[in-house]
């Protein structure tokens, strides 16, 4: 943030995302939004209300309500992007991205390369992730599938300030960027009073961006490095608080971008702490944490004082019953126990 007096307000992530889109649409007439239920009067403003009010300002020409056709949404975004536009496409749930894997993986990611560098595909795909008592098909965290694809960028913001800034960067980026947000983190005013986390953040009124590819150290520490996104990030911070009372200082890092990964920030931290734990709500096998773990092992082996640990959702589809869901998703206690063992 600039050092001169900056006007800020506390916003939720949903409010911050809405501002980012509105400001970019005012700034650049090639930016437009398309998705299901995004602009119907009296409708939802998108599945989680992020777009409320946008159609009143920008009209149906630039806030496009599509049929329930995820392939058409993604394909239209690809086609418009190669021809001078900057589409922001919406998936109501990240689970629906599997409906348009061809458009994202075969088309968006590869058109620039196949054209010999003559084309670019400046599109954004927003997708909400996260187990939220909705069962197996409305709660997945599929970031890892896309981290694997050369040609795509993947970001995963977890607070309002970074969500707004990195969405603006994504819209201005000349590559396809997938923006994953967690459903539990959208509208969080008052949740702290209810015993949860305060997820609002001070957000400047002036234009700012947050760079893609740069991690954030959320809490400095010297004994172990904890890398996590979304709800797992807040659980990691809660675990770090608890461990601090036992004299264990964790450095908690929000990668913010999953591809390209900010190796420098992560490696520097691990070289300082000698211990590395990655936490994510995606399932364990082949999750993005495995990729980070492999890179840390490659680069930091000589600094490690304990094995690298991955804490992830168990390799099962998400069950609906609350007690079952809680049993498979990483909890604060798991993180605390794991760190204690590493230092034991």
């Amino acid at each position: 943030m600039p050092e001169t007096a900056v006007q800020t307000r506390r916003l939720t992530i949903a409010e911050a995302l809405r501002e980012a889109i509105a400001e970019e649409m005012r700034r650049d007439e090639t930016v437009f939004l398309l998705g299901e239920d995004v602009g119907v009067e009296g409708g939802f403003g998108g599945a989680f209300g992020v777009y409320l009010g946008l159609v009143e300002e920008f009209g149906h020409e630039r806030i496009i309500d599509t049929p329930i056709s995820e392939k058409a949404i993604a394909g239209a975004a690809v086609g418009a992007a190669v021809l001078g536009m900057r589409p922001v496409a919406d998936m109501q749930y990240a689970d629906f991205l599997f409906e348009c894997m061809d458009e994202l993986v075969n088309q968006a990611a590869k058109l620039r390369y196949m054209s010999g560098g003559k084309l670019s595909v400046p599109m954004v795909m927003r997708a909400p992730v996260g187990t939220t008592l909705r069962g197996a098909q409305h709660g997945q965290c599929p970031e890892s599938y896309f981290v694997h694809v050369p040609g795509l960028k993947v970001v995963a913001p977890s607070d309002a300030y970074h969500a707004k800034g990195i969405l603006k960067s994504a819209i201005r980026d000349d590559n396809p960027v997938l923006v994953f947000e967690h459903k539990l983190l959208y509208g969080s005013k008052g949740r702290e009073a209810a015993g949860g986390w305060d997820l609002t953040a001070e957000v400047p009124t002036d234009d700012y961006t947050v760079p893609i590819g740069k991690a954030i150290i959320k809490r400095p520490g010297s004994d172990a490095t904890l890398l996590a996104t979304h709800v797992s990030l807040y659980r990691a911070l809660a675990a770090a608080d608890q461990l601090a009372s036992e004299g264990i200082e964790c450095e908690v890092i929000d990668p913010l971008t999953l591809n390209p990964l900010d190796e420098q920030t992560i490696f520097s931290s691990v070289q300082k702490t000698g211990r590395f734990v990655v936490v994510h709500e995606d399932t364990l096998t082949g999750g993005w944490g495995a990729e980070v773990a492999a890179r840390v092992a490659d680069d930091c082996l000589g600094y490690l004082e304990a094995p690298i640990k991955r804490i992830a959702t168990y390799d099962v589809p998400a069950p609906a019953a609350p007690v079952l869901e809680q049993a498979i998703v990483p909890q604060v206690e798991t993180i605390v126990t794991t760190i204690r063992e590493l230092l034991g």
Partner: protein, 322 residues
Amino acid sequence: MAEHVLTGDAPAGADAVEGLYRGMLLIRRFEERVYRLFLEGEIPGTLHQYQGQEAVAVGVCDVLRRDDWITSTHRPHGHALAKGVSARGAMAELYGKRTGCCAGKGGSMHLGDPAVGMLPALAIVGAGNTVVTGLGLSMKLRKTDQVAACFFGEGATNEGAFHEGINFAAVERLPIVLVCENNLYGASTPYHRVSLVPDVAERAKAYGVPAQIVDGMDVLAVRAAAAEAVARARAGAGPTLIECKTYRFTGHSRSDARDYRSDEEEAEWAARDPLLVAGARLEQAELEQLEADVRAELDDAVEFARSSPLPEPGEALDGVYA
């Protein structure tokens, strides 16, 4: 909503035939030359060839402007040449040379060049049917009078992408022409085995999109239908589907012996060769001159491709991200 059948009687002057014939001849001789070079080991990879279907690419692209766009398929050589990709650029791409239209990164199944309004061809069946809606959406939002044409086979109409794409194009009134090249077989599978609706044009009705069936072996018939559809798109009246009944004279890909088709059927379609149909309207001397022109252009293209440099291996890492 407009009626579902177009008249297809837009005029094409007789003087246009020579240009159309030359366009088709270039594709035919290009494909024959490429096949031989492939067998000789000069061209790597695989090939899906376009002989027999030339009237479709040429008839449609003839009524498109340079700043109009097309999407193509795994069988894109004809579309590329018809839209204006140079024979040099296309041939060098097949040779895997740096001077190819995609710098050697695309190859046979991804020929294209944004400079002439052609996306790198999309080799996943049906992929163009959703991507073309974005081209159309950009044209509509930018308020240009450009048009986007999408070439696809009858097989693509059994993909979900076809249905999502045509419906979205229809409800958004996008400036799109959907060009179905119904060559009767998806690889070896006859269309009647995989659809109870014999004509693809019938399927357009389900989406409120006007459609027309044309003789895909007659370049003037294709051109007339395309002219009407393009005019409709330019005027903001939305998409049209043209079903071109056509036939590929070669196998699906290089190794296909075509045992699933009868000699009689092949002979019947060979008699309707688009070069014969259009050539009947030209004098012998004109035909010979066009053969000589095309031969010279392809000699030049092959020489250009042969003498062009290969990419440096390190170039494989370039151009993933902007």
